[in-house]
Symmetry: C2
Subunit: 338 residues, 2 copies
């Protein structure tokens, strides 16, 4: 299949140093060329995720050489490929595309990624939902499947009003788990209840610690997923019954996770971490395909993402600031063609 | 075997509330009577351990009803027993005695404990070494055996100049492990090197974090035992290579253990806890007997404890303050008959 002629230059958002939104600028760059086992994607949309914010601050697990184009996920159409079968097969296809551990990300008109990081989208999935079909949906699937494999019937999740938080609640409930949703502001309680969440606790409330302990005892919850860290981890560890585990999957408090030594020692509790990339790496190709198929089927309901705003690449700083200020009111996306 | 007549009253150290050394007093109390499956021990000696200090402050995992007699371990002679075979068998025997999760501890002239917490001492072990033959020696054996079972060839240990720290270093080396000893003051480096430690790092040094990281990489250390918690845990987690674990077995910093979320998430690191009681509970009776025999054989060398001072029970506060002020210069013991 032949693709339309490609321009030489593209618009891209560039991060100059790991000092947050202030270090972002928009520039013209050469359109990159795919090597073997790589494809070039014409980007349709790319969201701002909490992991992107951490990356801008140098707090993500991986630091790329700066200047670099941020953006961990997005969607688009494959317009060129290096000289390999899989790449040529993908040309013309609509894909979800993921930035690699090295090299530039998705916040640009075009991006190059590995053929295995370009996942064909089902016809039922539009490019906007497709742009948000990997990180949050697969994380929700992973966490819920881990909870079920560990034999849990109830779990805790924090930062529960976020896009991912809402997915975890919906998917958990649809798979028969009771989900205790922890939010950090009173207004978020209503948001979550309106979308059907049954158990919501507000950590800013005075009785939070006591309520959390009671619900952990009642429901015999032994597993908490924590995207906040800092003192949230401390409270979770204190509230859970003996032999429980807190799995950290984010650091929204921008603080170190805390745990009382006595709780770890005498109550045999554990703190560990979850990383989607590591979880997926343990899966076979077939398992990955089944997970991807499941995610796409659920994008309209359990794994749906609300959208609040779309910005052109030129509004890089404005868009990131908008998202930072209202992280729970729906996703903010970059749409190069807006 | 008949025992000499018992007095009605005894001297005991009593903790009135969980507010530390200030809440200690010495009083006369009735000598307790052993029930079925219990023995009465005439106490010969009882050390002050870090776990006792934590208990006095209410920071130990277990809170007993106050007023209570503190003291987790000691030694003595069994002078009376409840009406059960094992108790009668123990009468007249020299034992190491351990305080139970409920009821009074060892800092008194007499103490009652369960027959399974009165461990007969080998003839080669005197009552003073016998008083310190359980908590530290069995903890050292447990930690080193856990490291070996996990296939480690090198480990880190913190608070390494303490009595337990020195045991871990000696036992680890004698069992073929490289032990990286972390101390918190420069003077302790010399103490440890003088007793044969090969790898010692001082966490108060400016290059500590860098040196720790280098040694972790060089030796491919994936397991750290941490008795300090607080920011020590943070540094350990940062320094260790991916997929490592920090096992907390004490909280000498009196602060929450800290861990950077990014390290837990992207480097798949874990923080958990070690409690001797839980470790021993997993062992069969035969395994426990073999561990106890091993501990006693090693009390003169690998698991030896240096003694700095002995105090009568009447000097309760003075003794605890003395130990608090110099926790690494050798053990402080209560000797009721001093």
């Amino acid at each position: 299949m032949s693709s339309p002629p490609l321009p030489d230059q593209m618009t891209a958002i560039v991060l100059d140093s790991y000092s947050g939104v202030a270090a972002l600028r928009v520039e013209q760059r050469p359109v990159p060329k795919p090597k073997k086992n790589e494809v070039l994607v014409r980007v349709a949309a790319s969201p701002i995720n909490p992991s992107d914010l951490a990356f801008l601050e140098g707090l993500y697990g991986i630091e790329k050489k700066t200047p670099t184009i941020p953006g961990f996920e997005g969607s688009g159409t494959v317009v060129a490929a290096g000289n390999a079968f899989m790449g040529r097969y993908l040309i013309g296809k609509r894909v979800a595309c993921i930035g690699r551990e090295r090299g530039d990300g998705v916040w640009a008109e075009y991006m190059v990624t590995s053929t295995k990081y370009a996942l064909p989208l089902a016809d039922s999935v539009d490019l906007v939902q497709g742009a948000m079909s990997v990180i949050n949906p697969l994380t929700a699937i992973a966490l819920i499947s881990m909870a079920k494999q560990a034999g849990q019937t109830a779990i805790i999740n924090t930062a529960a009003a976020s896009a991912l938080g809402q997915m975890i609640d919906r998917l958990g409930r649809s798979e028969g788990l009771r989900v205790v949703n922890i939010v950090r502001r009173e207004a978020q309680v209503e948001i979550l209840k309106r979308v059907g969440a049954q158990l919501v606790l507000d950590s800013s409330e005075t009785k939070f610690e006591q309520n959390l302990k009671e619900i952990c005892q009642q429901q015999q919850i032994r597993l908490a997923f924590d995207a906040v860290a800092g003192s949230m981890t401390l409270h979770l560890i204190e509230a859970l019954p003996p032999k429980s585990k807190v799995t950290i999957y984010g650091g929204l408090s921008f603080e170190a996770a805390q745990a009382n030594p006595g709780q770890l020692i005498f109550q045999e509790k554990t703190v560990d971490g979850f990383w989607l990339t590591a979880w997926l790496a343990q899966k076979s190709l077939i398992q990955k395909m089944l997970i991807w198929r499941k995610a796409q089927k659920m994008l309209k309901n359990e794994l749906k993402t609300e959208i609040r705003a779309k910005y052109p690449l030129e509004d890089a700083k404005k868009a990131v600031i908008d998202y930072q200020e209202h992280m729970t009111g729906g996703k903010v996306l970059f749409v190069p063609d807006l």
